[in-house]
């Protein structure tokens, strides 16, 4: 067993690291879905845009300014997307909002295509995170170690935020019952904006970690991680933050094991197979609350 772990340490480490990055994206999905009942297809692309902003920022300014700038810019982008593309459709059918999300995703990808000229952009190396480190015979980048730790810290902060702050309580109330919380005097728009801000902030952190590891950004870079993060969110039970994080780690690790087994053709399909199995067997996910459909 120990021997097996030792030879496959690299897969595991990498899986955990990817899982952490998926987790940071998945939280954005799960929170937005919790509040708005919307699969925010554009979330993966926000993640990609964060990567591009970092690339352009570092060509003009030092690292210690560009990193906060990336975080701020991504948050602003998320806020604006909600404002421009989702808020006008608040009373429209759910399908229209989802189509709007797909439209935003299309727009962001095409803008990225335009600005990059369709060429892969090389992500700058962030000093500490890009260094190599050897753990138990497996050499990897520092970021691999940092990712799960940072993810867990951020998740704990987020959970505390949701539990003890006023805005956190409001978010929980809105995700429980949209109309009732409105009646209770909660400012729905503010809560939704806050959800997007938090989700995008975490996506920006995720993009810093992800692209430090895999240092090239293309317009479709966000699509696959985005979808996988969504699968993770469903797997963990949509609306549940610990669920999303655990789901993301499971998907990240499984994906790397599958690649290790030589089934690379199916490394992306696996996530979807897992999703379908979960939807069939336990549609609410492993941590989701049982919901009853109201007529």
């Amino acid at each position: 067993m120990i021997e097996f772990l030792h030879t496959n340490m690299a897969y595991l480490l990498n899986g955990i690291s990817v899982g952490g990055q998926y987790a940071l994206i998945a939280i954005g999905y799960t929170m937005v879905y919790g509040v708005l009942r919307l699969i925010n297809f554009a979330h993966g692309d926000v993640f990609m845009v964060a990567g591009l902003v970092m690339i352009y920022a570092t060509t003009a300014m030092p690292m210690y300014i560009s990193i906060p700038l990336v975080l701020v810019a991504t948050v602003v982008l998320g806020f604006l997307i909600e404002r421009a593309a989702y808020r006008p459709l608040r009373s429209a059918p759910r399908m229209s909002v989802m189509i709007s999300a797909i439209g935003v995703s299309y727009l962001l990808q095409n803008c990225a295509l335009y600005f990059t000229g369709g060429l892969p952009q090389v992500y700058p190396s962030i000093p500490f995170l890009s260094e190599s480190v050897t753990i138990w015979g497996a050499t990897t980048k520092m970021v691999t170690i940092v990712t799960p730790i940072l993810t867990l810290v951020l998740v704990i902060i987020l959970v505390l935020l949701l539990k003890y702050t006023k805005i956190g309580m409001a978010m929980r109330a809105v995700s429980k019952d949209f109309e009732a919380s409105q009646l209770m005097g909660i400012k729905i728009d503010m809560v939704i904006s806050a959800t997007f801000v938090i989700g995008c902030f975490l996506a920006a952190v995720g993009s810093l970690l992800y692209f430090t590891n895999y240092s090239s950004v293309i317009p479709t870079s966000g699509a696959m991680p985005g979808l996988k993060a969504f699968v993770a969110a469903v797997f963990g039970g949509i609306g549940s933050i610990p669920g999303a994080v655990i789901g993301a780690f499971i998907i990240g690790i499984c994906e790397n094991i599958i690649k290790g087994l030589g089934w690379t053709t199916f490394s992306d399909a696996f996530s979807f197979a897992l999703l379908i199995v979960i939807l069939m067997v336990k549609p609410t996910g492993i941590f989701g609350e049982k919901a009853t459909d109201k007529v």
């Binding site: 690299a10 060429l119 990897t140």
Partner: protein, 406 residues
């Protein structure tokens, strides 16, 4: 609301018809073609259009742009051609195939409707194969520049090619690995990419004949996480990694191999001969030795190289299209030769009619920078030499390593 709807509809229709009207007229005088603005100042006269069917975005975008640079440079040196006693201005018409086989047909149609007499391209074999039938139906001949897959010309009579092919290249690479004394190879190519998969195929065949152990793996399109694949290579005990893939993926492989401390040599085909690769090697501190087989060795023709370097450095767009360096990729040089082969074909045809050019092409010969070009029965150039380049940490570029005659 309805008013708006109607208004938009009407506007859309008006615009559509307006563009229809305008679209027909300027397409004939090159409405779609300007890039770089050198066509604006050309003297009035007859114009012959040469289609440039190359990827300018997507995975192979940077490679395609480098190939176009060669054609543009050639065009800037020789902007006119004498066809049947008349001097024509040569204008390049560009179509971006987005490195995607499903976009190939519409890109080809753009060139066909622009009235091209002959087309050049493409970087990447898959897109070339995907467009072959469309060009064939329109009867416009196309000259492949650096698409090495056999199936590009085999069975596609309209396609000619000026570079060597995968069976040769795969064997050369396998022999290279063998001659370096390695016996265990890990092959990695992109799933569904005809160039990489085709090359790996011939490499494996040759390597197994030489008694080497080969492990094959594929990564899906858009993949950016190569750590698992590199771990696979490590666990397979690979002494060399053979990874013919586009430069974007190559960057990631070089960088992640270095980060993982996997310092085995990396070997690849002609795509890796690019400034992008040497930059990635520099960034990775040259942790891995890098070898690639290619069409042209820098330093063979200093006069030509100085000229094109100066031209690239003289324009910021060109410099950006070459990946920000003035390091010359072999595909650029091939693009340069391809342009002159097209001119020779036009001259031999004595007409701008595509059918005449097609008829004339088999007999065309041209003594280019990359060697003599003459076509055989399948439409491939008779090439009997290839170059091996490797990364030189001192100069930070890919330099000549070996010349292979076959």
């Amino acid at each position: 609301m309805k008013k708006f709807l109607a208004l938009i509809l009407v506007l859309a229709m008006l615009m559509a018809f307006g563009l229809c009207g305008c679209g027909t007229a300027p397409a004939d005088n090159g409405g779609d073609t300007a890039e770089g603005g050198d066509s604006a100042g050309a003297p009035a006269g007859d114009t012959v259009y040469i289609g440039v069917y190359e990827p300018q975005s997507g995975d192979n975008g940077s490679g395609g742009k480098q190939e176009i640079l060669g054609m543009q440079y050639a065009n800037s040196l020789t902007p006119t051609v004498d066809i049947g006693g008349t001097t024509y201005n040569v204008e390049l018409v560009y179509a971006d195939n987005e490195s995607a086989n499903d976009k190939a047909v519409s890109a080809a149609n753009k060139l066909i409707s622009a009235g091209c007499s002959v087309c050049l391209g493409s970087y990447g074999s898959g897109v070339s194969m995907a467009a072959a039938d469309t060009f064939e139906a329109a009867g416009i001949p196309i000259i492949g520049v650096s698409c090495t897959n056999v199936l590009v010309t085999d069975g596609n009579e309209i396609y000619y090619r000026i570079c060597f092919t995968d069976p040769d290249q795969g064997t050369i690479d396998a022999n290279l690995v063998h001659s370096m004394g390695y016996n265990n190879v890990y092959c990695l190519a992109m799933l569904g990419e005809d160039y990489g998969q085709g090359l790996v195929n011939y490499f494996v065949a040759a390597a197994e004949d030489l008694g080497m152990t080969v492990t094959q793996d594929q990564f899906p399109e858009g993949n950016s996480d190569f750590t698992s694949y590199l771990t696979n290579a490590k666990n397979a005990g690979a002494e060399v990694i053979f990874a013919p893939c586009s430069t974007g993926y190559a960057q990631l492989i070089i960088q992640q191999a270095a980060a993982q401390g996997l310092t085995v040599p990396l070997v690849a085909g002609d795509t890796w001969d690019s400034g992008v690769i040497s930059d990635a090697c520099v960034a990775a501190n040259g942790a891995n030795e890098v070898y690639c087989s290619t069409f042209y060795a820098n330093g063979s023709n200093p006069e030509f190289e100085d000229g094109i370097r100066e031209w690239i450095n003289g324009d910021s767009t060109n410099l950006a299209n070459n990946g920000g360096t003035d390091e010359l990729a072999a595909t650029t040089v091939l693009g340069y030769d391809a342009y002159y082969v097209a001119l020779e074909a036009l001259k031999a045809a004595g007409s701008t009619d595509p059918a005449a050019v097609w008829e004339a092409l088999p007999g065309v010969t041209y003594d280019g920078v990359t060697g003599n070009i003459a076509f055989n029965d399948t439409g491939d150039a008779d090439r009997h030499q290839a170059f091996i380049k490797n990364f030189d940490a001192e100069s930070g570029t890919l330099v000549f390593y070996d010349l292979i005659e076959f």
